[in-house]
Symmetry: C2
């Protein structure tokens, strides 16, 4: 490691797909990597040990929520997020901007930042680039995200331009306010407008960020539109830094985006869908409450190595737990789903190393055809 907060090492490429290692003060993360979402400093229902068993070595936590409750000073006093949440591996925090805009009340966006009322107690708050950096600094994540402006899906060009220009100005303010030793990623915006995306990618690449993220995807645009944009955009994002596609996505999204050269992902899907009784399997998804599982003695996915499937929990038992609204269902499905995502990524990393990523992705996508829409690889 250099004196930088993190170092990204590219160890193999296969077409645009990349196989790397992210060196941090909390260990090495093999990329491409999927980050489970630990919104309130917990991946809902799981112990840190169970998260790590899925293969994940990096999680993302939510600055907005932790800022409002319990407050960054409380977290700082408990040996920061790593000590507080007992997660010894890598932690990323988002900037809080997305939630300030989508979750808080009476949010007003100005050059200063997001002025809003807390969704918890109505108190007035200002989330500025400096405040976001201060809060993320106190939280002590390994990687902080810059405060950015995420335009709504379908925004017109002037709105998109204003968003990327403000995001760039905020990028500089965030870099000036960052906590020493904490890595910081910039966030590329521009909606579905490829030219704006490319312009913003090159603007941000001139700044000393430790990584570059793609924000504002998966906010309502069509899946095909996202994939088309990624195919042309990602290869143009500075290849020497990790590329992080925020808030995406389905297994199919991940396979396509890795093929474009994305290194990091986060998404609530495996954890949120578990809460709703949905399990990921190689052929698509299983909705555990279906009556056909009432007497089904099989595990969610025969052959799966996760603790749920290996523990002998039958679909019949999981269905029963779901119908009875038992927490253990949420937990057992979360273990399975994160393991599924972990396996998908592990397989992708191996395939890139062996130079057969497009075969791997095509084969995984074909398997999904039973329940998911089949697609052509770009």
């Amino acid at each position: 490691m250099t004196d930088r907060a993190i170092a990204f090492e590219l160890i193999a490429t296969d077409g645009e797909a990349r196989r790397g290692r992210l060196h941090t003060r909390h260990g090495v993360v093999q990329t491409p990597a999927f980050m489970p979402v630990a919104t309130q400093a917990t991946v809902k229902s799981l112990s840190p040990g169970e998260i790590a068993e899925s293969g994940a070595r990096m999680v993302i936590m939510n600055t907005y929520h932790l800022w409002l409750r319990p407050g960054p000073e409380v977290v700082a006093g408990q040996a920061e997020l790593h000590g507080f949440a007992r997660w010894p591996h890598v932690i990323v925090t988002d900037s809080g901007g997305f939630q300030a805009f989508s979750l808080a009340k009476l949010c007003k966006l100005t050059e200063e930042g997001f002025a809003f009322s807390s969704h918890l107690d109505g108190s007035r708050r200002l989330l500025s680039p400096e405040e976001s950096m201060r809060v993320q600094g106190l939280l002590g994540s390994d990687i902080a995200m810059q405060l950015d402006v995420c335009p709504p899906g379908g925004a017109d060009t002037p709105t998109l331009v204003a968003a990327i220009e403000r995001t760039t100005r905020w990028a500089e303010r965030c870099l000036s306010a960052r906590r020493p030793g904490q890595a910081l990623f910039g966030i590329i915006q521009g909606g579905a407008d490829l030219a704006l995306r490319l312009r913003h990618a090159s603007e941000l690449a001139r700044l000393p960020f430790d990584g570059l993220a793609l924000g504002g995807f998966s906010v309502g645009e069509s899946n095909d539109s996202m994939h088309q944009t990624l195919r042309r955009l990602v290869p143009e994002v500075d290849r020497n830094r990790p590329r992080y596609l925020m808030g995406v996505g389905t297994p199919r999204d991940l396979l396509l985006a890795m093929g474009c050269g994305v290194d990091m992902f986060d998404c609530v899907m495996p954890t949120r869908n578990a809460r709703n009784g949905q399990a990921f399997v190689r052929s698509g998804r299983v909705t555990i409450k279906q009556a056909k599982f009432r007497d089904d003695p099989l595990p969610i996915e025969p052959g799966c190595n996760c603790a749920t499937c290996q523990g002998g929990y039958s679909r019949a038992y999981l269905r029963h737990l779901y119908m009875a609204k038992e927490i253990l269902c949420h937990r057992l499905l979360t273990v399975h789903n994160l393991h599924f995502y972990g396996e998908l990524m592990r397989g992708a990393r191996e395939a890139i190393e062996r130079g057969c990523y497009s075969d791997y992705a095509a084969s995984r996508l074909r398997e999904m055809a039973t329940n998911e829409q089949p697609v052509e690889l770009g």
Copy 2:
């Protein structure tokens, strides 16, 4: 083991307190023993491994709930409760009568049984002694409980007499209908009327039950009244069979009842209180949401060997999880509370073996004086 379903071995006594071993087809249970409650075939939020880590080797599951959902035939088809819930140790099922009376709608009690409407779908059901035995037989528990009539707290003498007489008639019907190889316990009723309790205890002791339970405690009578009754009643219950005090209780209740010669307990308190943010500690109880824990870096109980305290989860983090309504709080507190109960029982067993049970109980009760009402040992 004999050809009986279970065998009870008394290995030491200390005053009225007893140290035993319950031999079953699913292993040996050291007594006195506390059984966590797994109402719907799950101890809420815990894996079977975590339950066993608390020291528990016997849990109680709920016949009423499992009868209505998923149905005993479903469970029977999944290798019975042991296979269904992945619990390899001992399982007790209650009779379902208590819930049919307290939870179901339009319940009518006759000599035939409880006629009621399901609280789930309103369907009419009849829980007779024979149906309870059929359902418990399909569930495949190691120990079934007879269907009994539990009179309400404060019932008058004629009501109590009618309840014990019907319970005795049902006892005989249950014994005739039991599944071969499944142990069956009788249930002594009689409210707070010692003479009736003693009469019922001797009536049931004449029947070939594998154990004798004390029902109808902890249904509204005062704690002192229960302790007084237990002190005179328990020593008169057949000493060659395990004695099981149903639905009781606090750590204080357990200490006093073990001193009277009770061998088995079950209670929702450690698991239900965990859900409400309450943790048991040697000095009493801790309500984790209290503001004083906001910045508290200590574990729930310093020196505690449970996975929660040893895992370094601070009171500050647990409070945060509770305030944020995170499931992990429920889980971590349940682990702690069951461990607390397990340690209490382990200590009691050792003390009985060493002949110093009354010192042990007195010392534990003294420690509780900070938060719990101090008591005199009888």
